[in-house]
Subunit: 93 residues, 4 copies
């Protein structure tokens, strides 16, 4: 059980929508749609994925990281480092 587990149905729904958007992108390429329209759709998919990531991250901080801190053991610092590295990957990607 993680922070996001209680909302996993909602996350799966959002990711199914993203999957549908990616299939839509394939169709646009197949049907030789205008490049700029494909780019606009890619920006929309990227934003949708980022938004899923930010939701997961907030719940991760509120559960896994907060749990480790509340327990007060050595894992707290490692969890914060791990979360910070994941944030850096999101910011740079």
């Amino acid at each position: 059980m993680y922070g996001y587990s209680q909302d996993s149905a909602a996350y799966i729904r959002r990711l199914r929508r993203v999957e549908g958007q990616v299939r839509g992108l394939q169709r646009m390429v197949e049907e030789d749609k205008y490049c700029i329209d494909i780019l606009t759709q890619i920006s929309a998919v990227t934003s949708a994925l980022e938004s899923v990531a930010l939701g997961l991250l907030e719940q991760h901080l509120g559960h896994c990281v907060a749990g480790a801190i509340a327990e007060g053991g050595d894992t707290a610092a490692a969890k914060i480092k791990e979360a910070s590295e994941a944030i850096a990957r999101l910011v740079r990607s």
Copy 2:
């Protein structure tokens, strides 16, 4: 026919791989995988989509935009403005 049309099979293959990665994300959520591993995978998908977008954009500049400029009509300025707006969406998303 657009700049990317000659490579559309390769773009579709890359987008199929992205679709598979998004399905993989759904499975990760269903199987209650660790949040940070899901975030890492989302960063990979986002990078793959950005890379598709940058490829399309380069071919768009080299064909559609270059074509409009070579023709020398009024559309050249509009094409450059349109491409610049698409670039801004990519940079900000």
Copy 3:
């Protein structure tokens, strides 16, 4: 003379404002301001710089790149490749 040269005074003004914002960031750290307020200000500076970059890029496409295409020589393809690489650095940074 490049595409942006006619607007260089405006770009310098915008970059002076960015310089002032960066000095403001130093002051915030010196005065031990709240971390989140510093982060908000960094996001503002980053957006201002991106906006300068997008302006320069649009003028670069409209002048340097368009000029190379209109001339019809071998440099056109190289200019498009160079611009695409600069766009990729902006998208990924």
Copy 4:
């Protein structure tokens, strides 16, 4: 006293270097340097600022947020929400 306070001298040094880079950008525009070289330099400044932001954020999580969680009061949830919003601004800028 915040998480970053112990390292404030190092942060100020990094921000002074950024200030110097921004002044360098003004000089490049004044001296009519090639657009692409200015764009490359802007990407470097943006990356340097993002790196400062990620450092501040990690220390914010490790001190302010961790402190609020350890205290166990109502502020913990608010601190996590506030940090998540700052992360979202960084990811989207």
